[in-house]
Each structure stands twice: as C-alpha cells, then as structure tokens.
Amino acid sequence: MFGFSLTKEQKMVKASFAEVVRDIVAPNAHDMDENREIPADYLEKAWELGACVAAVPGEFGGDGMEYSPMLNAIVLEELAAGDMAFAVAAMLPSIFINPILEMGTDSQKKKYLPASCGEKYQPSTAAVCEPRLDFDAMSLAATATKKNGSYILNGAKCFVPKAASAPNILVAAQLDGKPQLFIVKAGTPGLEVGQREKNIGLYALDTHEITLKDCQIPAEDRLGGEEGCDYARFIQKGRAAVAALAAGECRASFEQARDYAKKRVQFGEPIAYRQSVAFMIAEMAYEVDCIRLLAWKAASALEAGRDATRDAYLAKIYAGETAMKVCDYGVQVLGGHGYIRDYPQERRYRNARGVATWEGIATV
C-alpha cells in the first residue's frame, strides 16, 4: 500500500539496527577506520539481527519471511548512518545469499544457502567493479567462455570486499556478449586475490583486486544454471542499495552539522543563527530526504517485481552527486574541525566519493 510512513515491522527492524549502531558502530567507527579493521564480534552483533537471512526459507537455514527490498533499504541506511564500511561489511553476505535465493537453481540453493545462513557471520562476496576508467556494470571486460562442460573466466576485478576471507565470490563476467554471474570458490586455480587495496574511503573494510586467469569452474556454478540469471535485476538491486547507504551516510553528516552549528559560538552567538550556515543545513536536510526517497522508490519497484532499470539508475546517479555535496557541506559547517580526523565528517566526505562508482557491493 502506497505511503511514506514505516509500518510497525519496519519500525521495529529499524530500531533494532539503530540500537547496534548506537551501542557499537557509532562509538567505534573512528577506531575501526583508523585501525582499518572491523572486530569480528561487532559483525556478529549485526548478524544476530538476521537481516541477511530473513527471506531464506527455513529448510536452508533462514527465517522464511517475505523478501522485502524496502526493508533492506531501511537497514542499509540505518547501519550506514553509523558507519558505511560497517554497513557494507555487515550486509555483505546478502550480496551472495540474495541472488542465489532469487535466481539460483534448486541445487545451488541446497549447496550454498545452508552454509551461508549459519549461526555465525560468513563473508561471501561479489566481484563486479573493474579497474578501468570506462568501467560499466552492464558491459564488462571480464569474460566467461564455455568449454568442455566448464566455464573459463578471465579478467580483472577491483573493490571486491573481503575477497581474501570469503569462501565464495560471485563474479560478474561477459558471456556471449551478455553479463552473467558465476560462483567462484576460494582457492580455485587461476583465481588470484591481490593485496588489500588502499582507497580514499571505507578504510575499515578490506577490499581487494582479484585476477582471473583461465580460471575454470564447473558449468553448474553459473548462477541460474544453463539458463543463467537476470543480471540486470542484480545490478538494479545493487544501485538501490548504494543509494540507501548514501542516505545513511548523508543523514549522519547532516545531523552532526546541525548539532555542531547550534553549539559552536562565534561573535557571541551560535553559528546556526547565521543564514549562510542555516541555509546549508536546510539544504542538507532535504537532500538527505531526496536520496532516501529515490532509494525507496527503486526498492519499491523491485519489491513490486517491476523492472527498476530507470528508478535504480536515477537513484544512484542522484545519490552519487548529492552525497558528495552533502558530505562536503558537512565538513564545511564544522570548519577546521571538519578537516580533522578526530571528527567523523572527514571520513564521511571520503566515503561519499565511492557512491557514484560502486556497483555490486550491497543489495536490497
């Protein structure tokens, strides 16, 4: 039913993640960023809330609830308001679980879901981005070729979260001119996981380049089997997710700027009393809402089972440009303090740069 307010269930889920953010993520975000590490027990806390396995049927170890992209968008925003790197890491298993659940064959579900939906957090991942200037998620340089009942994968990928520790990587590659997804197990000959990347943002999340050199996988490990998968839908869900993450990051930047402007006194009164500052905060306020509503619109289309090509594309392009602007304002309002790493605004500014670029790092 059309509407803008959360249901009881949506509110409950949001509140449970907000609690983890308040108690664990936000207070430790700075240390996680500086130490370039997310402690395992923090991820377990988020895992216990079950968002990644909610829609997986009971027989495969999940909760058998209705699959809801809207609910996932709400969770992603909430976590990213605490820390974006944590949000991506905590929800990473769903980038593997979710496509298998929706598009996998019965045997793929049986083979992969139970192991991914256990008591403990297990980092499965996806490899979509490629290290080239003209990277395009819908037209990949990595290739898959069918040969003697196997697929041979070749190409380079970057920004693959937790590639070094994930038992499975969902690799996007071009097959007969069309992008498809392939399940590549860790240790497969020809799969090389590179050094941990050093990026502008998401310091706490370990990401890697991977290379595939004549990497041979069994034919049954093509997602969806012989018929393949709806790759476009996979990308649409990723774009809605990135917009939802951006909404969270920007919300946090807005809230800190708002609170700071009221406390920071110069020339005898809070800087919030000046229109030049107050108007920036007003703009941040509605831009956060714009990003969220666009993410929700794409998620709603996906939830309704409708083609979300346009909605997801527009949500991501808007979020990419606007997140950069909002987080820029977030630094600016804090002045010199915005530039200092003791405050989270500089981290948000660095993280926001990825929004326009990331593909396939999260899903709704």
């Binding site: 708002r258 666009l294 289309a301 594309y313 808007y318």
Partner: protein, 397 residues
C-alpha cells in the same frame, strides 16, 4: 507503510488529467503567451466545474477521514498529481482556470454557509502582497475600519493573480495596526464596488497567460458580512498562523507546478534527443554517456526527487500529519530544481532552446515564478532551517 509504487487510483487520475492537459492546454500555450492579458476563452470549458470544493465540515472531536481503500488516494495527493499534469500542459493557463483562484481556496476553507452561498460560485482572486510587504505578510498596511454596517478599506494591492478576470478578490487588511499580525483579517471585495479599481496589469517574464494586476482601494465600502472568519482581534497570532497554515497545503501545489513545467521541458528534450539518434536507455554508466545525456539523467533524477518530496507533503496532509517542514522542503527543492531543469533543457536543445518555435524557452521563463511566489526559495530555506535547528524567528531571522 513505506512503499512508493503509485497506486492504481493515482495513475488513473494522472492519465485522465494528462489527456485534458494535452488536448486543451498545450495546443493554446503559445497563443496566450503571446496574447498577454487576453482572456483564454477556451478555458470557459472549465466553468461550472467546482475545483476548489470543500469536504463536509466535521464536528469538533470527529476524526478526519483517512483514505481507507488502499487503492484510493487522498484529496491533497490527487490535487498535486492533477496540478502537475495541468502544468505540463501550461502553467499560466492552469492559473487562469475559472473559479480556481487562491481566493476560492480561502473561501472554501473558512467561509460561513451564508458566505459560501454568496461567493461560492464566483471566481475569487487573492490580494495579499503590497509594494512594501512581500514575504513579510504580517507588515501589510491596507486598512479596514468598521463604520456602521460596513467595512471601509483603504490601500493598494499588487501582484494579484487573475486580477482582470475574477469576480471578487479576497483582500488582506489590518483592522488594528497596533495589534500586528493579530489584527490582519481577510475580506471579500466584489468587482464593481465603488472605490475598488483595477489600476493596471503587469507585463511579466513568464506565465503571461495569467493576468497579474494592481488594485487600489479608496474608501471602498463593503458589507460587514464580507469578513472571512472572526472580526475579533485576539491577543494571540493564532488567527494569522491559521492563515499561514494554508500554505502547508498550497506550497506542495506550487511544487507540483514546478514538477509539471520541468517535466514538459524534459519530455521535449528527450523527444529531440531521440530524433537525433540518442536513445536514453538508463543502462550505460554516466561516465560513458555524452555530456548532454549525463545532464539529462541528472535533471530527470532531480525531477523524481522533486516529485517525491511533493507527494510526501501532500500525503501527510491527507493523513492529518503536520507537514509544515515537508511542505517547505518540497517548495524549496522543486522551485529551484524546476528553474535549473528548464534552463538546462534549453541549453541541451541548442538553437531549439532559444527559438519561440519550440516551447522550451517559454518553460524556462514560466518556471522562474515557481521559486518566487507562495514564498521564495529563501523563505522556504528559513522555514526548513528553523524547523530542523529548532530555532525561533528571533534566533534565525
């Protein structure tokens, strides 16, 4: 529930209004842009349709209706969807639809049954602005003095929409200058009343189909019964705040106008791009698009954001949620966004964006007013900032 797939009822309203707009407004858009101040006779087709109606008055304590059928939409949401479609056809003409003036909205909102009987079927314009009083509506200097059974009005009102075409004007005046905002009341002044003259019509940048005029009130005597609401001057500003609250409903409507005009620009631009062999398919990374395609996508995304803010504000009003902040957000974003989108489309269109053979140049002119009237973008930012920062008017001026 948070779920933004448009319900079937909304789509039905949109399609219906789109047909009306495409067949009745768009074909005469240029004609009345050029024939500034001429009444568009074609709009007589809309006469007799009650646009500004009002729901049955509720008794105290009775809860307002919420839309119960999940497929149905509320009145405010229906209105913003309608307004967007009409303005896609032509914004100036939509503002000229008989009996749909802002004055009609004010009458529908607060008139007594007797007043509704007298003025309900008349075309009512609204006169608030004065030469020295724009956004600061509390500072108006037009006066109304009670003299026996009449009010005597004196002053000058500018920027009155539908000034020439209307039958009567809802005039804001103060009955007690000392009382400040509490002394401001509104009065229905009928055309032909001695002392009430239309001084001149303005020549404008855009929305030229809509006539905008200046009225002079010189010892203009109207019946005592023509005051809207209570004549009593209370020591609070509740009455004035009540009037300002109507902006919470009208601001999303202006935002919807901006969405409609901007969409018209985008639709034309898409058509021309496709004629030139550039298909917009939302699959290519923005990095690999041409500059104008990328600009187009960003403008389209902005349009979507403008519309969602507008729908949210209207949806909240339908659900009796206080939407002062969200109404201003929609107006702030859509007013500015519409201005920028129509400029960008005219730019993308190259020579086709300059010529009057196409409507893109006109939409760029029309759209500008939507960031000005019903509260400028700057006033909206003030309201939003005070809201989110929880600052008073004196703290954030």
């Amino acid at each position: 529930m948070a779920f933004l797939e448009p319900p079937p009822d909304l789509i039905k309203v949109r399609e219906g209004m789109h047909n009306v707009s495409a067949s009745m407004l768009r074909p005469i858009a240029r004609k009345y842009d050029e024939a500034e101040h001429a009444y568009p006779n074609e709009l007589d087709a809309f006469r007799g349709i009650q646009v500004m109606g009002r729901a049955k008055k509720k008794k105290d304590g009775e809860k307002k209706d919420k839309p119960k059928d999940p497929g149905k939409i509320g009145q405010n949401l229906g209105t913003v969807v309608t307004v967007e479609e009409m303005c896609w056809g032509d914004c100036g003409l939509m503002l000229s639809i008989p009996n749909a003036g802002l004055g009609n909205a004010a009458i529908a909102a607060v008139a007594t049954d007797e007043q509704l009987e007298r003025f309900g079927k008349k075309w009512a314009a609204m006169a608030i602005t004065e030469a020295e009083s724009g956004s600061d509506a509390g500072s108006i200097s037009t006066t109304a003095d009670l003299d026996g059974d009449s009010w005597v009005l004196n002053g000058e009102k500018i920027f009155v929409t539908c000034a020439d075409r209307c039958d009567c004007v809802v005039v804001w005046a103060t009955v007690d200058k000392e009382a400040g905002k509490a002394g401001i009341k509104s009065f229905v002044v009928e055309k032909g009343t001695p002392g009430f003259t239309l001084d001149h019509l303005e020549h404008k940048l855009g929305i030229r189909a809509s006539d905008t005029g200046t009225f002079v009130l010189n010892n203009c005597r109207i019946p005592k019964e023509n005051i809207l609401g209570s004549p009593e001057v209370k020591q609070t500003t509740e009455g004035f705040k009540g009037v300002m609250k109507t902006f919470d409903n009208t601001r999303p409507m202006v935002a919807a106008m901006a969405v409609g005009v901007a969409r018209a620009s985008l639709d034309l631009t898409r058509e021309k791009l496709e004629q030139a062999g550039e298909k917009l398919d939302y699959t290519k990374s923005p990095n690999n698009c041409s500059a104008r395609q990328k600009d187009y996508y960003m403008a389209e995304a902005t349009l979507e954001a403008m519309r969602l803010l507008t729908w949210r504000a209207a949806w909240m009003a339908d659900n009796s949620d206080f939407n002062n902040l969200e109404a201003s957000m929609s107006k702030a974003k859509a007013g500015r966004g519409g201005t920028l989108i129509t400029q960008k489309c005219a730019e993308i269109l190259g020579p086709l964006g300059i010529t009057t053979k196409e409507l893109a140049e006109k939409w760029m002119r029309d759209s500008k007013i939507l960031d000005i009237f019903e509260g400028t973008g700057q006033i909206q930012h003030l309201i939003i900032a005070r809201n989110v920062l929880k600052l008073s008017r004196s703290q954030l001026q």
